[in-house]
Symmetry: C2
Subunit: 297 residues, 2 copies
Amino acid sequence: MAETSLDMTKVALIQMRCGPEPEKNFSRAIEFIREAAGKGARIVCLPELFRSQYFCQTEDHKNFNLAEEVPGTSTAAFGELARETGTVIIASLFERRGAGVYHNTAAIIDRDGKLLGKYRKMHVPDDPLYHEKFYFTPGDLGFQSWNTQHGKIGVCVCWDQWYPEAARLTALRGAEIIIYPTAIGWHPSEKKEFGKAQHSAWETIQRSHAIANGCYVAVANRVGHEAPAGGAGIEFWGQSFVCGPDGEVVAKASIDQEEIVMADIDWSRVNEHRTHWPFLRDRRVDAYSGLDRRMID
Amino acid sequence: MAETSLDMTKVALIQMRCGPEPEKNFSRAIEFIREAAGKGARIVCLPELFRSQYFCQTEDHKNFNLAEEVPGTSTAAFGELARETGTVIIASLFERRGAGVYHNTAAIIDRDGKLLGKYRKMHVPDDPLYHEKFYFTPGDLGFQSWNTQHGKIGVCVCWDQWYPEAARLTALRGAEIIIYPTAIGWHPSEKKEFGKAQHSAWETIQRSHAIANGCYVAVANRVGHEAPAGGAGIEFWGQSFVCGPDGEVVAKASIDQEEIVMADIDWSRVNEHRTHWPFLRDRRVDAYSGLDRRMID
């Protein structure tokens, strides 16, 4: 295991396909993390709900059987792996919290194997083929950051990525990189007409979080066409990426291949950027009170 | 004057150079608005502080003489012009509110010539060559929108464009287009190394406001190299643009020419976009309380 630099950290995003067998996805995820660590990665993030195909395409009570406790079997295995490889691991899991209470949860595991904390997806979507409100209770742990042994990280999940409030609160809590496990793609029938604009909007708004908050942003998406319940399914659009504090994309994956996206995080750029573009200095905290309203009408 | 469609409105951004003589800038602004109206524009926006060169490059008490009352001479002239041309006019003015209290203010004038309201720049920068904190008292009218006879518009000014909070509050108040008079450019010594990334960040974050809020965004910048106080000055980078609710740029000006940027605003796209990408539906207003803090540490 290479020694850690205080100034630079290599982050890896695992862009992977997810098949119908959870155990197989899980063991492949382990292999990917080992490979990333071998290449020097010190923070590794898996895509959203990587253990299974994206079951939220339909509302089916049987899918609740995919859930697990957090901490539980998965976090124990990742804890061991983190210790072995010296990596911080972000693992998106389907959490069974109690009878009838399930969350879309990211586990944050430090390099010593300790489960540092959990992020429970705060913004939960419900759209055709993304029936998440059926499965997931909205998160109740708020927006957080964790001072890992490899850097100050924040984690949000998928739909959160559309909300500047989520990124801002995560940054205000100290995150210098905001990491998003995600599962987003095209409805095949819409791809031709709207696909380019949809992807552009998705990349743009996440780059904007980096700009607004002067921090890094890293997004791990899945790839592949999944139609587990028949129908046209979703073509997950890959293109996992890392961008710097000025919003420039510094590493980006393909649209359709499994790959490990690696980027060097230069932590000094966060302070430099926030000093040269002092947006945090000038926030009008006295005038933001309406942000907790649905509309101001 | 063409009749107004209920569904579509043509917006025009006046990208202009600003010379050392305020009266000349003012009369050229009037000409540009007449020309835009002649081409069918119904909402017209001038760049930030178009009446003068960008005096904030230095701290000089003499520059306070450039200020005027709002309402005052300028808004009276624009009121007449609005009535004559049937346009809504957004005019950025250096407001003298009272002894020692000055604002960077946008006047919003309806098509009947009425001064609908004022927006006083809320986020005030202070950076090398942008010494605005010396001149401008922070705005105290908050983030607003106005139901003009040509559409529901919100107005913020320049530095506000970096703040998702400003765009969000403006949208929550009903704006379906957010319009930014601005004055931004390169320090010539930085342009080669950082110019591309700086411009990209600027365009990206404003596109992100359109995406996050499912509304149009329109930005009127000045062009030209100004060094009124000697020194290298600022190369204002033009590139005024309009983008749609998905963040796609639908009209954009050059980097160095005076021009009128025109775009058709299809108001139905706002509701359509907000329904298909229902970000406003899923905001976690119960969990945003920390947004009124500097840091959460």
